[in-house]
Symmetry: C2
Subunit: 230 residues, 2 copies
Amino acid sequence: MTYTYEFPRPALTVDCVVFGLDEDDLLKIMLIQRKVPPFEGQWALPGGFVRIEENLEAAARRELREETGIKNVFLEQLYTYGDVNRDPRDRVVTVAYFALINLSEHPIDAATDATDAAWFPATKKPPLPFDHEQILATALARLKGKVRYEPIGFELLPKKFTLTQLQKVYETILEQKLDKRNFRKKILKMELLVALDETEIGVAHRAARLYKFDERKYHKLKQKGFNFEL
Amino acid sequence: MTYTYEFPRPALTVDCVVFGLDEDDLLKIMLIQRKVPPFEGQWALPGGFVRIEENLEAAARRELREETGIKNVFLEQLYTYGDVNRDPRDRVVTVAYFALINLSEHPIDAATDATDAAWFPATKKPPLPFDHEQILATALARLKGKVRYEPIGFELLPKKFTLTQLQKVYETILEQKLDKRNFRKKILKMELLVALDETEIGVAHRAARLYKFDERKYHKLKQKGFNFEL
């Protein structure tokens, strides 16, 4: 007796939503220009087929590396999309992942075949093929949810940052302005930040104090969750 | 040119974690006894292969109906498991769903082939094959997380219930005792409940007032989320 499933199988892919913040704290998303049909020439989420001997997250990492040069990022599984007609080629089920990165630490690597990869502002990007608009919308919603229930910013910000930068991360993701005093009071109360004996360098305004995350506290709160009332 | 992916494909399955509360507010989980190898005779999560022309959630509903007789439930996608060695037969990737139901409204239907389906207390169940223990642990963690951020109980409780019953739902899921006065104050403040002009019937103690959920408010809060500090 064979245990194998003898009927036709869907093809399985992974797709990656990669968010990054640029120097102006604009939320950006990484897209690649498709080289093959369908939707040849259109900008889409990076991704591709899962190999038969490859774990799902490993496939997402490989595709991201091959298509964009991005490596060593925090990846989180987002959702699996399997509508029968989501791909005009065939039945294709895709496991979507999402990642947050700091743009300055992850430049697009020109040495890979990532010549067709580029960052786009999340609010000013070309229309996406397949169900990639839906995947992106889910990723944005997940990001907004996360801000309320767990610490965020570690992956998006440089190692040392100002409270203004951190507030900008929250404002960018939530798409709303926050009260400065209130935000500082709440964020400092969490004891998530370590004040450094350093200030910003090369700014026109008065140099602000730099902070870093208390990594242990950050990861503990990430596990436990909290309620950040905005 | 063909667009189809020509390489070997993983098999794709769905698995369902179905939670129910019994009359004693014990959290139960629905398992089925496997009729075929591997792990023949062992209790496992209900589930099976996704058909080539079938959406993922539709497959989960079909398997649940065929294997347990359960239908018309709220299903939510949980996570997709695809480790290369998770199934001894073959490369099998599974999309896990979870459901919350009220046991009294969803008896196991003897008319189906569900003769090998049964409810087990979540804390007193046989060891599960494949990576089903991991799937169950993820579902329990998701359930605990949900309690804090969105209204819960609608699917688990009868239409009319007492505040004590609702508190028991929270205590069961969180595995901790809650202060009665505090709980009532917080839950009533949310304006999620409608007090009925009815009391319990057939109880030995003083009959308590019955409540129902304000469905519109419930679903609105489900969308928006909240912070339920415990």
